[in-house]
């Protein structure tokens, strides 16, 4: 059931996408480094590792992390 809800939500999001967005010459701001979804991958990996070690949840932004005996 949860899977179905997730798939339907994704489809709805995609259907709405075609009317959104910008032209290629309107990307000045979006191309800026600080507007990338992950600005500093090393820092993001550090945080994922810390929270994987200390909490029962992991991932979300990407793969679940882990690969360590800290949990």
């Amino acid at each position: 059931m949860r899977n179905k809800i997730a798939v339907i939500s994704l489809m709805l999001v995609c259907a709405g996408c075609s009317s959104m967005g910008v032209q290629p010459w309107e990307r000045e701001v979006l191309a800026r480094e600080e507007m990338q979804l992950t600005v500093d991958p090393v820092e993001a990996a550090t945080d994922d590792h810390i929270y994987f070690s200390k909490e029962a949840s992991s991932g979300g932004r990407g793969f679940g992390g882990g690969g360590c005996g800290c949990n």
Binding site: L10, R32, L37, T46, F63, G69
Partner: protein
Amino acid sequence: MAGVGVTDMQKPGKTAERSVSATLAAATCALLGTTVAAPVDAQEEPKWGFNTSLLYYGEDEDRVQDASFKSMVRRLFADDRTLSLGLTVDALTGATPSGAIRQDGPQTFTRPSGNDSYTVPAGDLPLDDTFRDTRVAITAGWQQPAGEMGLLSVGLSASSEYDYLHTGLNASYAHDFNNRNTTVSAGVSFASDSIEPVGGAPIPLTGMLDVDDTSNRLGDQDKDVLDVVFGVTQVITRNLVVQANYSFSQSDGYLNNPYKFLSLVDGVTGDTLPRIPGPEGGPGGQFLFESRPDERTQHSLYAQAKYYLNGNVIDASYRFMTDDWEIDSHTLDLRYRWPLGATSYLEPHLRYYTQSEAEFYRLSLDSSQALPQFASSDYRLGNFDAITAGLKFGWKTRNDNDMSVRVEWYTQSGTVPTAQLIGNQAARDNYPDLNALIVQFSYRFSR
């Protein structure tokens, strides 16, 4: 502050530099299994990118301390193909809660190795102070365009600790649609880990034995983890980009923590049942090693938005996680990047996390009742809230390298469900609250 972009664009070569670093960031994100908004075309000469950090993580009350060095090197080849290599070295020391409850008298435990014993003073939270490890982790990733609108990434990872070995493979594909305003991605990762606990993995729910008695220890254990991530990234306006991910994670195998145990208590007083240690020494109370299911399935929904507001950047994300251990969690993360002049910025960070306890979370085991099949008193499977508050300062050096320093405080506070408290336990502080300091220095440059 809004003029930063204009100034940058007037310098020849500056935009090229920026797009290379954005592409390199994209490559590394792919390595981590994340997706990026809009691929930035880079037609420049092959370049190197370096991203290095030093981290200190320290918990108060002599608990876990970690000094960590992390470095990623990326090589950009012709036609947007990228090779990424990463190295992490962690040096860990300190004490960690063993899972036993506090008692009014001193408590003696056998060390995980089985070679010795240690005593915790009366009233103290039992900590296992033998925690000491060095972890070395490596990653390698390759990314290349697949057709006009696709991006293919493959990677591998491995890490080694004294008692743990990890190997993993991952692959993801991202496809742009709609004038590159929409990116749909899918990724899969598989990890195969082996666990070689100090002294051997104890048989779940068997008692802690005397020093030198290893009759309830098993050999090495293993576990497999399969992760699948689907994502959509959408440009909404010139200043706003959003992402939504669904991820699924399936773990199979040995999911216990071999060093954690529970106190077996009297059903009326709630105090740990006494035990007579043998001549070699051993525990003075009855403690049973934890038992978790050998399967876990997690589902997560993650959403992130980045908004550019007059030179400032607001970064907000939310994650919901639910699993078949009956843990639900919510995570809210907010960052605000505030430029100070043309070359530096301040970034306050606030994160709130809350989780419910696993269905088999128990503060202790009641000896007047039948033993449950699964039980763990690991505080990380309990009911708690956590807050991270931090501040980062970043600046560009004269030769255009990026540096940053961040300081963050992480605090956890939890509660044991009232229904689990027996007798004297109600008057004690049962949950091991956690306070940690995180300091990280990062240095990035490309050549």
